[in-house]
C-alpha cells in the first residue's frame, strides 16, 4: 500500500461513525476496501459490503488474495468476503448475517432481510458502501442505514466513490449524501492532492505519447458528427426546455451529458414533443458514432452505420441533416468506391457529393471527356456498367501499433545480444507487453491483426460485409414488387430519394452500386479466381501506383485504378502521404530511430487504396515492404479490455504498456501500479488520434474531475455537519406526525365508535418496488414494510386493497405499451378494491397538462382519453392521485385506517395459478431468471397457459432453441402453437443492410 492509501485508512478509522471517501478515479478504491477488510475481526460483528459492482467485487477479492502487505491483526486468515445470494434459503442467510464475517450483499436483499428480521442489526459491525455517488435520499442504501442505525448505534458506515463529477451534480449533493448516510466526515483525495501526487511521482514510468493523425475520411466523419451534434444542440436549445449552459459539444461527448439533459427534461418528459425526445436520442447516437469512429475499423463502422440507418432511419432528425449525409458518404469512401468502367467515377458518390465537390466533378468530367448532364450520367451508367473498387482504409493506429511492436522487439533483440548488463533486470521484468483497448471486440480484432496483418483482417470484415449484402440485395430483388422503398432505405445509398428531384438518376446509380457490390461479392466467393486475375494485372497496377499518374491501360482492373487516381483519388493518396509524413516526424522526435520502418509504412499507405491485391503484389514487386510488414518478428502481446474492469496490472506485471484507447482511469491505475513497484521498469505508449474527439475527451475528463474536486473542497469548507449521525432523530419526528394524523383520521371515520387499534400498520410491498423510494418513505411514516414477491399489484394495504403505483412517466409509458391495461385487468380479477395510484413528483407541477394544451377535440392520444377509456372499461378501478411520495404514504395510512391488515401468505399466492411443483416462497424473484421468462412469454405461440410447461420442459432458452417441434408440441399442448414457435425461432432473419 502506498503512504497516501494508509493515510486514508487511518483517517477513516479515526472516526467511529464512519465517513465518506471521494477519490480520483483509478486510485484503487478496492485496495482501500480490502485493507479495511483485513482489519476486520469477527468479534466486532458482521461487515456487509453494499452496492459493489461485479468488477469491484472481483478486484477486492483479488487484492485480498495477493499476499497481504498488512498483517491481519488477529492472526487468522485474512477474511475473503463471500456473497449472500438471494436464492440462499432464509435460515442459511440469517446464520451468515450473525457469523461475524464479511459479506457482499445487494441492498435489495439486505433491506428485505432487515425488514423480515432475518438480519439482526445488532449483529452488524458496520457497512461498507460502494458507489456512494449513486445514493439519493429515498434510495435503499439510506433506508438500510436508517434501519441499522436505529437498532445499533455503534455500527459504522464507510462509503466510497471514485466519481467526483457525480458528487457535484445537483445542489449540495455531497452534504446531502453524508446526511443520508449519517456520517460526519468527508474525505477528499484528488489526484492533485500533495501527498497523492508525491507518492505517485516518486518513480514515474517512461511515457511516450504517440499522436497518430487520422485519415482524411476519418477527419471528415468526425467533423460531420460534431457538426450534426452542434445542429442537434442548437435545435434542443430552441425548444427552450433546457438550460443552455451545460449543453456544449464537448459535454456532448460524455455519457454524463445524457444525465444533464435527462435531469432537466425528466420532470417535463411527458409534455415534450416527439421531436425533442428524438433530439435527445440522436445526441446519444451521435456520441456513439464519434466513439466508434476511433474504435472500429472502416468496414465495421460502415456496417454499424447501415444498421443505424435501418433502425433509426425514419425517426431520426440528424439522419436527414446535411452533415450526416457526409458521415455516410465518408464512411463509404473508407471502404469502397464505385467506378464506371469508362474511366468514370460514380462512386462513393451519389449526386450529392458531386454537387458539393465541384473540383472532383470537374476533374471527372475532364478525365472522362464526356459532357453529360448529371442525370444523363446516371442513365448512361446503366449501359456502361460499373466496377467496385475496394478502398478498405485501415485504422492508422494499427500501423503505428505494429511499428511500435517491431521496435520493441528490435530493442529486445539488441539487448539479448548486448550481453548480460540487463539480465537481472529482465529477470525482474516479465517482458510482457500489454495492449489496453476499450472493449473485448477491439481486443479480438487487434489480436487477429497482430497475427495475420491488417489486410487479412479488413478483408475478412469486408467479405462478411459483402456476403450480408448479397443476401439482403438478393432478398430485395425478390421482394421488388412488394415495395419501392428499399432503394432509399436499407441499401447503401447515401442519398434518400425522398424529396429529391433526381430520383431517376439517383436510383439508377444506387442500382449500379448495388450491382457492383453484388459482383464484388460473387468475386469474393470465387476468391481464388480473383487472386489469379489480380496477379496477372499486378504489373501494370503497381506501375500506376508508383507514378501516381494514369496511362491508358489494357486490363479492366487497371482502368479502375486509374479512375480512382484521376478523380480525387490522387488527392487522397497525397493526403495519406502527408499524414504518414507528419506521423514520421512525430515519431522521430520521440525515438529518433525508426527510419527504415517508416519508409515502409509510407509506401504501404499509398498502397492502401487498391488493397485487395496488395498481398499478391508484394511478393512480386515490393520485397522490402514484404520484409518489414510480414516477416518482422513481433513480440508476444497481451491484450486487455478496459471495459472488463479487471485489475490485471498486478497479476500480469507488464513491462511495456501500449494504451491503445486512452482512458484516465487506466492511466491512474498504471501510476498506482508503478508506485507500488518502483523497482520495475515500465514503459508506456499512448496512442492518440491527433485532433480527435478521443484526445479531446481524454483531456476534458481530467479537467472535469479537477473542477469537481475544487467544487467539493469549497463545499466541504462551508458544510453543515449533520449531528444526528447515530440515526436516532432520523425518523422519529416523522413517525410521530404520521401517527397523530392516522389517529385523527381514525376518529373521523371510526365506524360505530370503534377505538382505533394501536397496533403497527403493515403494508406488503412487492420486491421490485424496493427500487423505488416509497417503501422507504412508508417505513419513515412508521409502517411495517413486508417485502414479498407479488404477481399482482405493487402494494397490498389490506386483504381487499391492492395498489398499482405509477409515476407520471410510467403512466404514459405503460398506457402506450398496453401493460397498464393488463395490470389493471389482473388486479380487478383478484381484489375487491383495485387501486391505480398516480404519483406525481414533488419537484414538478401537479398536473398533466396546462389548459391550453388540451385542445379543442377529444383526441384518442390524449391522456384524458386514455384514462377515461380505462375507467369506462374498469368501473371498479379506484384512482388515487398523489402529490408526492410523502403524500402517498399519508394516503396509504388513511386508507388502511379501518381495514384489516394484509395477509402475507394469501398475497403471495394471488395471481399465481396453483401448479404442482411450484412452491411459492418470498424469494421468488431471486429464484427465477425473470428476463428469460419475460422473453419466453413474448415469443409467438407461447401463452399464459403453456409457458410454465415450457419452463419445466427445458432448462434455459438456449435449450429451448434446440427442441424439435414434436417435443414442443407435447410441452405446449398443441401442434399449431409448437409450429408457430419453431418457425419463429428458425425464421431466417431478413438482412437489413
Amino acid at each position: 500500500m502506498l503512504p497516501f492509501q494508509e493515510q486514508i485508512i487511518a483517517e477513516l478509522l479515526d472516526e467511529p461513525g464512519g465517513g465518506l471517501v471521494v477519490l480520483s478515479s483509478g486510485l484503487s478504491l478496492e485496495t482501500l476496501v480490502s485493507a479495511l477488510l483485513r482489519l476486520h475481526s469477527p468479534s466486532q460483528g458482521t461487515l456487509l459490503i453494499l452496492s459493489a459492482s461485479e468488477f469491484q467485487k472481483s478486484s477486492v477479492l483479488q487484492c485480498l488474495r495477493r499476499s497481504p502487505d498488512l498483517q491481519s491483526t488477529h492472526g487468522a486468515l485474512s477474511p475473503v468476503p463471500a456473497e449472500i445470494p438471494g436464492d440462499l434459503p432464509s435460515h442459511h442467510r440469517s446464520s451468515r448475517y450473525t457469523s461475524g464475517a464479511a459479506f457482499f450483499v445487494s441492498p435489495r436483499i439486505l433491506i428485505a432481510d432487515l425488514l423480515t428480521s432475518r438480519c439482526p442489526p445488532s449483529a452488524l459491525a458496520g457497512l461498507i458502501i460502494f458507489n456512494a455517488h449513486q445514493l439519493a435520499d429515498t434510495s435503499t442504501e439510506s433506508f438500510i442505514v436508517r434501519v441499522v442505525r436505529s437498532a445499533n448505534r455503534n455500527a459504522y458506515v464507510r462509503a466510497f466513490t471514485d466519481s467526483p463529477q457525480a458528487m457535484v451534480a445537483g445542489f449540495a449533493k455531497a452534504e446531502r449524501t453524508m446526511r443520508w448516510l449519517g456520517v460526519r466526515r468527508l474525505h477528499l483525495w484528488p489526484r492533485f492532492q500533495v501527498q497523492v501526487s508525491s507518492d505517485l511521482e516518486v518513480s514515474p514510468p517512461e511515457v511516450v505519447d504517440v499522436r497518430v493523425p487520422m485519415t482524411g475520411a476519418m477527419r471528415g466523419i468526425q467533423g460531420a458528427i460534431l457538426g450534426a451534434m452542434d445542429a442537434c444542440l442548437k435545435e434542443l436549445r430552441l425548444t427552450n426546455k433546457v438550460d443552455v449552459e451545460d449543453l456544449t459539444v464537448e459535454n456532448g461527448l460524455f455519457k454524463s451529458f445524457d444525465e444533464i439533459v435527462r435531469r432537466q427534461l425528466d420532470p417535463i418528459w411527458h409534455t415534450l414533443g416527439m421531436k425533442t425526445k428524438q433530439l435527445v436520442a440522436d445526441l446519444r447516437t451521435l456520441r456513439k458514432l464519434a466513439d466508434y469512429l476511433v474504435r472500429y475499423d472502416a468496414v465495421t463502422y460502415l456496417k454499424y452505420l447501415d444498421t443505424l440507418r435501418v433502425s433509426e432511419g425514419v425517426r431520426s432528425v440528424w439522419i436527414f441533416a446535411d452533415s450526416s449525409h457526409k458521415i455516410f458518404e465518408f464512411a463509404k469512401r473508407r471502404v469502397y468506391q464505385v467506378v464506371r468502367e469508362g474511366l468514370k467515377l460514380i462512386g462513393g458518390a451519389g449526386i450529392g457529393i458531386k454537387r458539393k465537390r465541384q473540383k472532383g466533378d470537374n476533374r471527372e468530367e475532364s478525365a472522362g471527356g464526356s459532357p453529360f448532364s448529371k442525370i444523363g450520367n446516371g442513365e448512361r451508367g446503366i449501359d456502361i456498367g460499373v466496377v467496385l473498387k475496394e478502398v478498405l482504409e485501415q485504422a492508422p493506429k494499427w500501423r503505428v501499433l505494429r511499428e511500435l511492436l517491431e521496435e520493441i522487439e528490435e530493442e529486445r533483440q539488441k539487448n539479448v545480444f548486448s550481453g548480460d548488463a540487463k539480465l537481472e533486470n529482465s529477470n525482474d521484468n516479465s517482458g510482457i507487453i500489454l495492449v489496453a483497448c476499450k472493449d473485448e471486440r477491439s481486443c479480438m480484432q487487434l489480436e487477429e491483426f497482430i497475427e495475420k496483418g491488417s489486410q487479412k483482417v479488413t478483408q475478412e470484415e469486408w467479405k462478411k460485409y459483402l456476403l450480408d449484402k448479397v443476401e439482403s440485395l438478393g432478398l430485395r430483388k425478390k421482394n421488388k414488387k412488394m415495395s419501392q422503398a428499399p432503394e432509399g432505405f436499407g441499401v447503401l445509398n447515401a442519398e434518400t430519394p425522398v424529396g429529391r428531384g433526381e430520383n431517376t438518376g439517383f436510383n439508377s446509380i444506387s442500382q449500379l452500386e448495388n450491382d457492383a457490390l453484388l459482383t464484388a461479392a460473387s468475386e469474393i466467393i470465387n476468391s481464388a479466381e480473383v487472386k489469379a486475375v489480380s496477379e496477372s494485372t499486378s504489373d501494370a497496377h503497381a506501375e500506376t501506383k508508383r507514378h501516381g499518374k494514369g496511362k491508358v491501360g489494357k486490363g479492366k482492373a487497371r482502368r479502375c485504378v486509374e479512375a480512382v487516381l484521376m478523380s480525387g483519388g490522387k488527392n487522397k493518396i497525397n493526403k495519406i502521404m502527408d499524414a504518414t509524413k507528419s506521423k514520421v516526424e512525430v515519431k522521430s522526435t520521440l525515438h529518433g530511430e525508426c527510419g527504415v520502418v517508416d519508409v515502409g509504412g509510407l509506401e504501404e499507405s499509398t498502397d492502401d487504396g487498391p488493397s485487395s491485391e496488395t498481398v499478391a503484389h508484394k511478393h512480386n514487386l515490393l520485397p522490402d515492404q514484404t520484409v518489414c510488414s510480414v516477416n518482422k518478428p513481433l513480440p508476444p502481446v497481451q491484450l486487455y479490455a478496459l471495459e472488463s474492469g479487471q485489475n490485471i496490472l498486478d497479476s500480469l506485471k507488464p513491462s511495456v504498456i501500449i494504451v491503445y484507447h486512452p482512458d484516465v482511469r487506466f492511466v491512474r491505475e498504471i501510476e498506482v501500479y508503478k508506485a507500488e513497484n518502483p523497482s520495475k521498469e515500465l514503459k508506456i505508449y499512448f496512442l492518440f488520434y491527433e485532433d480527435s474527439t478521443e484526445a479531446q475527451k481524454f483531456e476534458a475528463s481530467i479537467r472535469r474531475e479537477n473542477a469537481a474536486f475544487e467544487s467539493l473542497i469549497r463545499q466541504k469548507s462551508l458544510m453543515m455537519i449533520p449531528v444526528d449521525r447515530d440515526g436516532h432523530s432520523f425518523g422519529l419526528s416523522a413517525t410521530k406526525e404520521s401517527q397523530s394524523l392516522v389517529s385523527q383520521n381514525a376518529i373521523t371515520r371510526k365506524a360505530g365508535g370503534r377505538i382505533a387499534s394501536e397496533k403497527e400498520m403493515q403494508v406488503i410491498v412487492d420486491m421490485r418496488e424496493f427500487m423505488s423510494s416509497l417503501p422507504n418513505v412508508l417505513h419513515l411514516r412508521g409502517m411495517r414494510v413486508i417485502p414479498l414477491t407479488l404477481e399482482v399489484g405493487d402494494y397490498i394495504l389490506s386483504p381487499s386493497i391492492c395498489v398499482e403505483r405509477k409515476s407520471v412517466m410510467d403512466l404514459f409509458q405503460s398506457f402506450t405499451s398496453g401493460r397498464l391495461y393488463n395490470q389493471v385487468e389482473t388486479m380487478v380479477r383478484y381484489y375487491e378494491i383495485p387501486v391505480l395510484l398516480i404519483e406525481f413528483s414533488q419537484d414538478k407541477s401537479f398536473s398533466f397538462q396546462s389548459a391550453s394544451d388540451i385542445g379543442g377535440d377529444v383526441s384518442p392520444t390524449n391522456i384524458i382519453s386514455k384514462l377515461s377509456l380505462l375507467v369506462l372499461h374498469f368501473p371498479r378501478l379506484r384512482l388515487v392521485w398523489s402529490r408526492s411520495v410523502h403524500a402517498t404514504a399519508e394516503i396509504f395510512a388513511s386508507l388502511k385506517a379501518n381495514q384489516d391488515e394484509p395477509d402475507e401468505t394469501k398475497a403471495a399466492r394471488v395471481g399465481v395459478p396453483s401448479h404442482d411443483g411450484i412452491i411459492e416462497n418470498d424469494a421468488r424473484a431471486e429464484n427465477y431468471n425473470t428476463s428469460a421468462i419475460e422473453f419466453l412469454r413474448r415469443l409467438p405461440g407461447v401463452t399464459d397457459s403453456n409457458y410454465r410447461a415450457l419452463m419445466d420442459g427445458c432448462r434455459s432458452l438456449a435449450e429451448l432453441a434446440l427442441l424439435p417441434t414434436e417435443r414442443l408440441a407435447k410441452l405446449m399442448g398443441g401442434q399449431k402453437a409448437a409450429r408457430t414457435l419453431r418457425e419463429f425461432l428458425d425464421a431466417k432473419c431478413p438482412t437489413m443492410l
Partner: protein
Amino acid sequence: SQNFSAQNRNAILVSHRQKGNPLLKHIRNVKWVFADVVCDYLLGQNSCALYISLRYHLLHPDYLYYRIRELQKNFKLRVVLCHVDVVDVAKPLLEVTRTSLLHDCTLLCGWSLEECGRYLETIKVYEKKSADSIREQMDTDYLSRLTHALTTIRHVNKTDVITLGTTFGSLSGIMDSSMEDLARCPGIGEQKVKRLYDTFHKPFRRVS
C-alpha cells in the same frame, strides 16, 4: 318522459343543481341538457359523475359523502370529478380520495375547468368504444416480434436487434450464441453481452 330521454340519449343530462357552473361552458363536443337527475351529470345508462371542487370541499367537508349516498347503487361507473383549484392540495385531496374510494367511486382530477369538461365529454363520447387503443398493440411482422422479445433484455435497443439478427441469422441462432460471438457484434458492450448470455443460458429456475 320516454320520448324525451330517447331524444337525449346522445346528450349529457345535467342536474339543475349544476346551473351556473362555469364548467358547462367547456362541454362543447357533446350536447348537454338540464334534466331531473340524482347525479350531477348523467353520462350514459350506467355511468354518472359528481362534480366537486376542492375549494368547495374545504367549506363543506361532508357534502361529497351525502351526494354519494344519494346515488345509491344505480350505476356501474360512478365518477367523482374533482377540480383541483387550491394550492395546498394534500389534505383536501386526501379526504376526497378517501371518501370516493371507500364509497365505490372513481376519482378523476382535473386542474382546469377545460380539463374537467373534457373528462365528461370523453366519457360520453367513448361510451361504447373498445379498449383497443390502450391495449397492448402487437405488430405481427417478424422484425417487430423479434424486437418485442429481445428488448425485454435491459438496454438492448432496436439497432442491437438488427445487428444480432444479421449476425446470427435466426432467433435460435441468437439464443444459442456464445459469449465471444456476442462480443463481436458492433455496438454490443460487455454489459449487454453478459445480460444477453445470462438470459439465454441461465436456467429459468435457479433452484430446482
